[in-house]
């Protein structure tokens, strides 16, 4: 395998943009940073397959497209399936006609990945197609109006898990995408966060260098659905890591590595108080739920430390 083009400073990130402005994603949306860095980190030739959702809708309203590379949208739950077909086609065409196989990147939101798209993703991982599946997780079905998904964190208020008088938000915990992906026997999986762009960029480079399926899980701040001032997007993202709520780690060929070892976590309230979707959790009557969430975070952190072979 050739030298990986990983970086140490932002200046080493290539200048070329393959995602153009003029798209209609919300001001302060976390998705474009993922797209821009991904397209810079993955070498050409490449093609993007996109599930229905915020990114797809906002970037390709006919006749305007923000994409400078081939881009395919089929339906909501089948981005991994569509990508499987493209990959299989290029494998055949490469053998039979010498056509060069492009790198295939799949973008899906948490809706199109965790829930409706789960089957297709599982099938693609099991069959071992060569593709990079990246889930931009804004923690609800944002494009259709902020309904809860399997990725919505415990306690969050969404339109279908509202913080009501009797039930205070989502009761269920967040599905663990990376654990499930790894269980399929894939070689590389990692979490990404926009507040750590060098870490993020390098993980995408690593994923792209692998032949076979890889899964990346991106924390995507959503000012519209989480209710915070758009200018604080990166602040919110950083706090997610610093409270240990969103551990930054990677899995490569059987080994776990925690990229940001948060020794002294910030209090969870610092993160929650910035977002109105969590406002109810800071009320005294919901302290039991807040404590439950904090316990979940601690358990998850301990689990990851153990997997990474780190003694507390």
């Amino acid at each position: 395998m050739s030298e990986l083009k990983t970086i140490k400073t932002l200046k080493e990130i290539p200048r070329k943009e393959q995602f153009a402005p003029g798209h209609r994603l919300c001001a302060g949306c976390g998705i474009p940073q993922l797209v821009r860095l991904t397209l810079k980190a993955v070498p050409d030739p490449k093609v993007v397959v996109n599930a229905t959702g915020c990114l797809e809708v906002a970037s390709t309203i006919f006749p305007y497209t923000a994409w400078r590379i081939p881009w395919v949208h089929n339906a909501f739950e089948n981005s991994a399936a569509t990508a499987s077909g493209i990959e299989a086609a290029f494998r055949a065409l490469e053998k039979k006609k010498g056509v060069k196989k492009p790198k295939i990147i799949v973008f899906g939101g948490d809706g199109g990945t965790f829930d409706i798209g789960f089957q297709a993703l599982s099938g693609a991982l099991e069959r071992g197609h060569d593709l990079i599946y990246i889930c931009y997780d804004n923690e609800a079905y944002m494009n259709t109006g902020i309904q809860r998904s399997g990725a919505t964190p415990k306690g969050a208020s969404t339109t279908t898990s509202p913080a009501g008088k009797v039930i205070p938000g989502k009761r269920e915990r967040k599905k663990d995408l990376i654990a499930i992906a790894i269980a399929h026997g894939i070689r590389y999986a990692a979490t990404l966060n926009p507040a750590y762009p060098v870490d993020m960029y390098n993980k995408i480079v690593k994923a792209a260098s692998i032949e076979g399926p890889t899964v990346l899980h991106y924390f995507s701040p959503c000012p519209t659905g989480w209710y915070f001032d758009p200018s604080r997007s990166i602040e919110v993202a950083r706090l997610a890591v610093q409270t240990r709520l969103w551990p930054l780690y990677e899995y490569a060929d059987g080994k776990y590595k925690i990229n940001i070892l948060v020794k002294k976590p910030k209090p969870l309230e610092d993160y929650l108080k910035l977002q109105r979707r969590f406002a109810h959790l800071l009320r005294p009557e919901n302290k039991w739920l807040l404590d439950e969430i904090k316990r979940d975070i601690e358990e998850n952190w301990k689990r990851l430390l153990k997997l990474a072979g780190i003694e507390k």
């Binding site: 569509t82 077909g85 086609a89």
Partner: protein, 407 residues
């Protein structure tokens, strides 16, 4: 059973190919192998499983160089096929019944994105209750989606139409996916004799796919954008016009294949229609039974005829209008039921076709054969009797009735 006069290749016709015995599924798989397909993306469902299994064998034995994707559901099967077709590959899939229903939303997308997928559709009944035998539910379910639909009446046609489907779908004047319908078990699993072409003949008729606008990083295209109110309707209008315009090209390719092989293919098949006063219109393998009965009645001097279709979508409107001129009564037989509607699907197609004709036959609808229920010669005789009765009285007493069911 098709009557003797219709068996292709006899009566001294020079027919291309060697004569072997295959069941419908195997014949389709064999044809697909000969097309040198690039990608096979299919999920097994009775009674299409033999197609998928044969193709897997061909690939794993090195007889066919293709990517075989063992997808985890039919929805994924067609989704992957769409991706593969956009990438410029020659693609095949197959399904039936529930599988077709599961991939339904993607049917529209496959047609709207102008893929050239060929799909074998083993016509099996929709649940409930679960039934693996022949109905035309899935054939009809596909009719509005923008796919071209062929119907095979016997194993020979299943083989020939598969080859023609690839050629037609990939033709630059067409560029729409096509479905090849064959009856569950009656054709899929029944061994019949057929002529198969030599590989070199298939290569001559069907050159490799020359894709239009394939995925190409040197020519970056956005496939499948979003349309707001200002563009959707025009895009659909364009698609409808293109499908209409592909009709003459389909006929040209039918003709080319007919001349190439000596086996005739045309959108509408007729028997006895030169002088028929009443007729039955029927699709699929049962057309043979209808002709068998018609032949017996005609021997007794009765002026009866049978119409069947090789091309169902786009619907052969002009041919049908021509062929039904002078008919007094036409029984349109449907192997499916459209609940709550004034008639089953073919009946509605035919009614819409003939509604503004100055001269049109009395039309009535007969439901038959659901879930693999046999259509017997006596059933057919009964339908001809009704047609004659209505023609004589000058009115249709029952616009829709069922045959072969225990009341």
């Amino acid at each position: 059973m098709p009557c003797k006069g219709y068996r292709n290749g006899e009566r001294g016709m020079k027919v291309r190919g060697k004569r072997i015995g295959l069941n419908g599924d195997s014949a389709v798989a064999y044809a697909v192998k000969q097309t040198n397909v690039d990608v096979i993306s299919a999920y097994p469902i009775t009674p299409q499983t033999i197609i998928v299994e044969r193709l897997a064998e061909y690939v794993n034995n090195g007889e066919l160089e293709a990517s075989f994707i063992p997808v985890e559901s039919e929805h994924t099967a067609l989704s992957a096929a769409v991706g593969a077709s956009l990438a410029g590959a020659r693609v095949f899939t197959a399904t039936a019944s529930q599988g077709l229903a599961l991939m339904y939303e993607i049917l529209w997308i496959a047609a709207g994105l102008r893929t050239t997928i060929v799909m074998a559709l083993a016509n099996r009944a929709f649940s409930p209750n679960i039934n693996i035998h022949c109905s035309h539910d899935d054939l009809y379910a596909t009719k509005d989606t923008g796919w071209i639909e062929f119907i095979a009446e016997n194993v020979q046609e299943a083989y020939d139409l598969t080859l023609q489907a690839f050629r037609i779908s990939e033709d630059k004047k067409v560029l729409f996916p096509s479905a090849l319908n064959l009856d569950a078990f009656i054709l899929t699993h029944s061994l019949e004799a057929l002529y198969v072409l030599e590989d070199k003949d298939v290569n001559e008729f069907l050159p490799p796919k020359d894709p239009v606008n394939p995925i190409d990083p040197n020519n970056p295209i956005t496939y499948g954008p979003l349309d707001l109110q200002d563009y959707y309707m025009e895009h659909k209008r364009l698609q409808a016009e293109h499908l209409k315009q592909s009709y003459p090209r389909i006929l040209e390719i039918f003709k080319e294949y007919s001349e190439f092989t000596g086996r005739e293919y045309k959108p509408v098949k007729t028997y006895g229609m030169e002088d028929a006063e009443v007729a039955i219109m029927i699709l699929g393998s049962s057309a043979g039974t209808a002709r068998y009965v018609a032949r017996q009645l005609r021997k007794k001097g009765e002026k009866v005829g049978v119409i069947s279709l090789t091309l169902y979508r786009p619907f052969p409107v002009e041919e049908l209008r021509k062929v039904t001129k002078g008919l007094k009564a036409l029984a349109v037989m449907d192997r499916a039921i459209s609940f709550g509607s004034p008639g089953a699907q073919l009946f509605m197609d035919v009614s819409a076709t003939l509604i503004n004709e100055k001269e049109k036959p009395l039309l009535f609808n007969v439901i038959y054969g659901l879930g693999g229920r046999d259509l017997t010669p006596n059933n057919v005789k009964f339908v001809f009797e009704k047609a004659k009765e209505y023609a004589k009285e000058g009115e249709v007493k029952e616009t829709q009735f069922w045959v072969g069911v225990r009341e």
